[in-house]
C-alpha cells in the first residue's frame, strides 16, 4: 500500500545532490534513526549517480509504503540507458563497467533492507530499494 509518493528528475550531476537532499528530508520526516538516514541517503547517492553516468539520466520515484503495521521509504531509480547485461557480475564488489570503484550497486544493496534490480540489455535499469522504519 502506498501512503504518499513523488518523483524527481535525475538528469545531471547536480540532480544527485537534490536527490540526496530529498531523501534526507523524507528520512527525517518519517523518523528514520540517524544511521539509517545516512545509509539510505548514501545508497540514493550511489544509485542516482549510476542513473546519470551509466543510464544517461533518469528519474527517482519515492513512495511511503506500508506493510502491515510497518512503514517504509521506497526509492526507485529508473533510466532508459543501455541496461545491464550481466546482473550477477554487476552486483559483485569491485566490478565496474566504467571508471568507478564498482561499489555503487553492490554497496547500496548492503545499505538497505530490500533491494530489487530490474534490467536487461537494451531495456534500461530500474533499481528499487526500501528501508523499513
Amino acid at each position: 500500500m502506498i501512503a504518499e509518493d513523488g518523483s524527481l528528475p535525475i538528469r545531471i550531476e547536480q540532480d544527485v545532490v537534490l536527490a540526496r537532499q530529498t531523501v534526507r528530508q523524507l528520512a527525517v520526516r518519517f523518523g528514520l534513526r540517524l544511521v539509517d538516514q545516512t545509509k539510505l541517503v548514501t545508497a540514493a547517492s550511489e544509485l542516482a549517480r549510476n542513473a546519470v553516468i551509466y543510464g544517461g539520466g533518469g528519474d527517482m520515484h519515492w513512495r511511503i509504503v506500508e506493510r502491515g503495521v510497518r512503514r517504509g521509504i521506497q526509492l526507485q531509480f529508473a533510466d532508459q540507458g543501455p541496461g545491464i547485461p550481466d546482473q550477477v557480475k554487476a552486483l559483485t564488489d569491485g566490478w565496474s563497467s566504467g571508471s568507478g570503484m564498482g561499489l555503487g550497486l553492490s554497496g547500496s544493496r548492503r545499505l538497505v533492507d530490500d533491494f530489487d534490480l530490474d534490467t536487461a540489455a537494451g531495456q534500461g535499469t530500474r533499481v528499487t530499494i526500501t528501508k523499513w522504519i
Binding site: E13, R20, V35, T38, V41, E46, G100, S106, S108, R110
Partner: protein
C-alpha cells in the same frame, strides 16, 4: 564556479568541506589542492569532513586520490572529524579508505602531523 577554500597555516593546508559536494566540486578541489601543495611546499594537508553528513563512493574515492597525490608530492594527508553514522555507512558500503590517515578531530589531526594546534 564554486570552490572549496584551502587555508594555509605555516606548512600545513587546511580544507574544511562544508557544502554538500557535487562531483565537479570534488574534482576541482583535487586540482586546487595539488596546485597549492606545489606553490606553498606544504608538508601536511588536513581535510575536515565533520560537516559532511554522507560520504559515498565518489567522495571516498576523491579522498583516497587526494591522499595519494599529496603523498607523491611529499605531503601527508589526515582526514578528520568523520561523523560516526558516516563511518558506519562507509564501511558497510565497502570503502575502508585504505592508505588514508584519519584522526578524530582537527586537534588530533594536527598532532599527527606533529604541528601543535595554534602554532602557525
Amino acid at each position: 564556479m564554486d570552490r572549496i577554500p584551502i587555508l594555509q597555516m605555516g606548512d600545513l593546508l587546511l580544507v574544511t568541506i562544508q557544502v554538500d559536494m557535487h562531483d565537479q566540486l570534488a574534482l576541482t578541489l583535487q586540482d586546487d589542492l595539488t596546485d597549492k601543495i606545489q606553490r606553498t611546499s606544504a608538508r601536511g594537508v588536513l581535510i575536515d569532513i565533520s560537516a559532511l553528513d554522507i560520504v559515498d563512493s565518489f567522495i571516498g574515492r576523491m579522498i583516497s586520490t587526494i591522499s595519494a597525490l599529496a603523498r607523491i608530492m611529499d605531503a601527508t594527508t589526515v582526514v578528520v572529524g568523520m561523523q560516526p553514522a558516516v563511518a558506519i555507512t562507509l564501511v558497510e558500503l565497502g570503502l575502508d579508505l585504505r592508505g588514508v590517515r584519519t584522526a578524530l578531530n582537527v586537534e588530533r589531526g594536527m598532532k599527527l602531523l606533529q604541528l601543535p594546534a595554534g602554532e602557525p
